[in-house]
Amino acid sequence: MPSSKNLVLIVDDSKVQCKVLSALLEEDNYRVIVANDGATGVEMFITHQPDLVLMDVNMPIMNGYEATRRIKAMSGVGNLAPLMFITSMGSDESFINCVEAGGDSILVRPFSSAVFKAKIKALQRISDLVEQVKSLQHEQKNDAELAEKMMSEVIESRNYGLDRIGIIKKPAALFSGDIQLSALCPNGNIHVLLGDFTGHGLRSSIGAIPITETFRVMTKKGFSISDIIMQINSQLYTLLPGDLFFAAGFACISEHEKSAYVLNAGLPDAYLFNEQADIKHQFSSKHPPLGILPEILSDVQLDIINIHPHDRLVFLTDGIIEARNQEGEYFGSQRFETAVKEGVIEGDIAKNIQKKLADFCKNTEQEDDISLVDIPCCSWVNNNDITVISSNLSDELSELDNSLSIPLAWSYHLHLTGKLLKNTNPIPLVMNQINDLEGAGEHWQSLYTILTELFVNALDHGVLKLDSALKNSPEGFSSYFNERTQRLNLLQENKQGNAHEDFVRISLQYYPLFQGGKMLIKIKDSGVGFNVLKVIKTNSQLLNTGMSLSGRGINIVDQLCDTLEYQEDGTLVIASYIWRNKQVLD
């Protein structure tokens, strides 16, 4: 028994028949409307949207087959009603015709009222199912739209430097299995990720949110791109089912080092183009997609490449290379490279590739998510990102500092030796402590830079005894980095029985000031030290003539710090950093 009064449309030219059927239906609590020919039946179907339709075959103006075809042709998700033919022609042929025309059932006269009611009951079941499907579909559509909106809110809108990165993002379904992320490191480097989950649609975009959070938070805290890759991999390994994985390209662009660090794990070749769109380097996939192996393969290294300010780094997913035209031909890397070249000339790589893809594929249905990121290699750090305290202000604060004896709020010491120096980046650790103690603040960005530069100097030149002159050629940075890795490995092996222990000691002392604070930083290393005066003099001369590729780090630190001095033959550096609270500046 239907709970609410369901509506039945009877289409029959015999008024007697209509009366009989109506009476039976009303006994079962149905409302009934009647049409006496096919054409009127179709009209009434449109205006009344009945739940069930009963259809005679032979009628004037339009017969039952034609009326059924028309009704079924306009039945979409919103207005699907089961339709039953009622006829006195019991032949196989008429049965087949009824089904062909779109009928869901057939009842051959004569029939008893019990059989009729049973048939209606069966049809009602179909109608209920249709109703259920309709409301589920509606709900799912709403949910999907909401989720999609949230997803793009969380993922894309918080990316860094959106105005400067060229992006293509064309999902094959409502949800994209591709994600594009960019974030600024505390030291002004930029981290970029382009990733492609297996498949597309909701199933494949579900992993995007945890990855986005990890990528942003770790970048912000100052973790290196390799730390982030390792973390994302183990996260996905735990999260994803066995057949789902994440092909991704990662890059850290360091303007300061004039280098890019790249890992391609399962994407088609990534490219570094110069200003003329010549290919300077191709980064082929070096590692299986993430989420397959519990840990990143230990022998896989980041590609390190020297960059020029006008270079562009381009990552793309297989959706571009494997896009097909009507003839089943692939777009391919040749067409892609040509399209980039034209794009560079026209000043917009992403736009031109999209145009060329559309021309190529014409009206063929898009099979996979298509995405690309095009990242310029320069001008990431603008002056607003680094807060340099004006000298007047710091003088004033130093005076304050000297005249009154300010009490020490806390101090923090970290002593790293041998193996730990190789495996640990202590700076995020230290910054976390500071954030926990003193809360977050923009002024920590400069402190981060100071600590990183001073720590790296102590480790590289002090403990590892690397000469920055190695960096003094355009290709130098890579060889410097290789040498560094080798020496770090030696650190670990020599650990035991080494009379001279390798270490770096970081100590921080924090003095709260009236409208800000002062951090006294001391970093001591186990190295032999250096001729402080000579190095600083040479450095500044080289910097002034623009010849040096090294020494920029210490120059920045000098600008950021209130005082900076070397003691104990250069094995101890003491820096003091003073800041004022932001709201006071404004």
Binding site: T198, G199, A247, G266, S285, P288
Partner: protein, 101 residues
Amino acid sequence: MTVYSKISEDGKQLTISIEERFDFSLHQQFRAAYHDNVTPDLTYILDLSKTDYMDSSALGMILLLKDHVQLHTGTLIIDKPNDTVNKILEIAQFHRLMTIT
């Protein structure tokens, strides 16, 4: 049917061959080709010599097969992929995970 499976006469080798496109539509058939086989120490040969195209969900399906093989202490060999298919395996660096001949 484009997925064929065959056990060798000595019962030590299961060969699964895929014809034409290896994509998500073969999910059920592909799984059925090995799932009920729990014989230990079996050599599984995935014959891709007649496969023209493979998408990333096929890679996922191969990973599931690999899990199954490992569970039953078997060996997995990907056999004779053509250039197109090999390129896809190469991008995904699957030779780091399994034997490809």
